[in-house]
Symmetry: C2
Subunit: 277 residues, 2 copies
């Protein structure tokens, strides 16, 4: 693992690191914020999964999460959204290939060898972080935006006991019925839709739910509401009697101006779960 940069930030350290990923077969980059408390021992950690076109950097510089994480003594992980670089397949579209890993393990050519973001986020990166940094892997929570909200919700529901709480900002809620999903699942997972259901937050919510609190925020002026389909997740959460809060925030759109506005709420929400006995 190599240190790309470390900046003092809100009394802690905002680092950027690269490592040779076995799972993805390329070097991967991630951001990690450690609050001052990490100098004295392992701290809880909140994962932030980013959306289409993003790298590890977008949320790290625009979401305003570090201040609230510092206040709560919580670490933040900002993974990349796909493998990248020469030799990694790509597509001219912004929503397929590099920057658009969709948090699945691709089984189809040309994506299969490198696009294994599910295993990367679920297995390889947490192992590396747990071994390397003062982070308490028994106290994890997860959030994300858009495609990253989809990733946060599907990972949280598919790895019972891993995360104490899950939240999402304007998540892709029902990708098996959306152009943000069908195109990518066809490319990465193949035409057999049976393989897609494991990666649809609304279907997973209907089938198994999440053993802990859920918080979802979406803007009423989000320009992608037809693609996000929040109503399917709201229905599934409510029909299941899932513990949680589903909010439509008046006037907000899909941007980081929306995310930063409600970041305090989300970090506070996760802190309550992470510090519960």
């Amino acid at each position: 693992m190599k240190t790309v940069s470390e900046n003092t930030c809100f009394g802690g350290t905002q680092g950027v690191y690269t490592h040779a990923s076995e799972v993805c077969g390329v070097d991967m980059t991630f951001g990690l914020f450690l609050p001052a408390e990490a100098q004295d021992g392992p701290v809880p950690v909140l994962w932030y999964l980013s959306g289409l076109t993003c790298t590890h950097e977008n949320a790290m510089v625009k979401a305003g999460a570090q201040g609230w994480a510092a206040e709560q003594g919580i670490a933040l992980v900002f993974p990349d959204t796909s493998p990248r670089g020469e030799g990694v397949a790509n597509d001219d579209a912004y929503d397929l290939g590099q920057g658009a890993g969709f948090y699945v393990n691709a089984t189809q050519s040309p994506w299969a060898p490198h696009f294994r973001m599910w295993d990367y986020i679920a297995t390889e990166l947490p192992a590396l972080i747990g071994e390397t940094f003062a982070v308490d892997m028994d106290r994890q929570a997860i959030t994300g935006h858009s495609m990253g909200g989809h990733g946060a919700l599907t990972l949280a529901m598919s790895l019972p006991g891993r995360f104490r709480s899950v939240s999402a900002f304007s998540p892709i809620c029902n990708p098996t019925n959306s152009d943000w999903g069908r195109k990518q699942f066809t490319a990465y997972l193949g035409a057999d839709e049976a393989a897609w259901a494991a990666h649809d937050a609304s279907l997973l919510m209907a089938e198994r739910g999440f053993d802990g609190p859920v918080l979802v925020d979406t803007g009423t002026k989000d320009q992608f509401l037809d693609l996000l389909r929040p109503e399917t997740l709201a229905h599934a959460m409510t029909a299941r009697r899932q513990e949680g809060t589903f909010r439509m925030q008046k006037g907000y759109d899909h941007s980081y101006f929306f995310i930063s506005t409600f970041m305090e709420d989300h970090v506070t929400f996760h802190a309550e779960a992470l510090y519960a006995d």
Copy 2:
């Protein structure tokens, strides 16, 4: 004036606007955050002047200022750092020409016709904003980062009565004795150093000071300390008995991770002055 974008943000609106600048002779772009209170009447305003290479956008998306401004009911203006576009002179260096206006009115060729950032910030843009938006131009404060800290300090001291308070993040404090200054002043103002003194915060502080509170933050690990020369401003402030606070923040560097960490302090500082009787 044209609206480029408007995003709901912390209950208010983060807008981006362009207008034909008479002073600069080109279209200029700026960001303006209006808190919710602006719907009910004019609100106080804090100017944020950015540093080298920045546009109106950097601080708008990375400084985390809107949340604190919303809490205080204060508007934020994010001007660009120079004129831009075809027909505007430029230089290959990052620290001269477009993105590096240094908040002066250039008198030298090829910069003179467009590079008039002093008049733009001191006269044209405040007039436009006062006419167009619910902003109370009798309650203004100013801050900035690096080159923008230099701009904030020099404008505040040179326009007595205009700003109630001034602050700066890692400002260029003594440009007449720095490679961040001598090169640019020579290019924009000419070789006669007599014309430079009006744009040196340390010299202005020694000569006239500021009629109000001053707050300056600089990181002890700032990679540009030799160029910023904070010691000259600290000396001038103290020798003058200037009301103010000069802080060296342990471990912080020149980045937006530093700025965002102390943004709450700066907005709160200005709010006290802006809401004083």
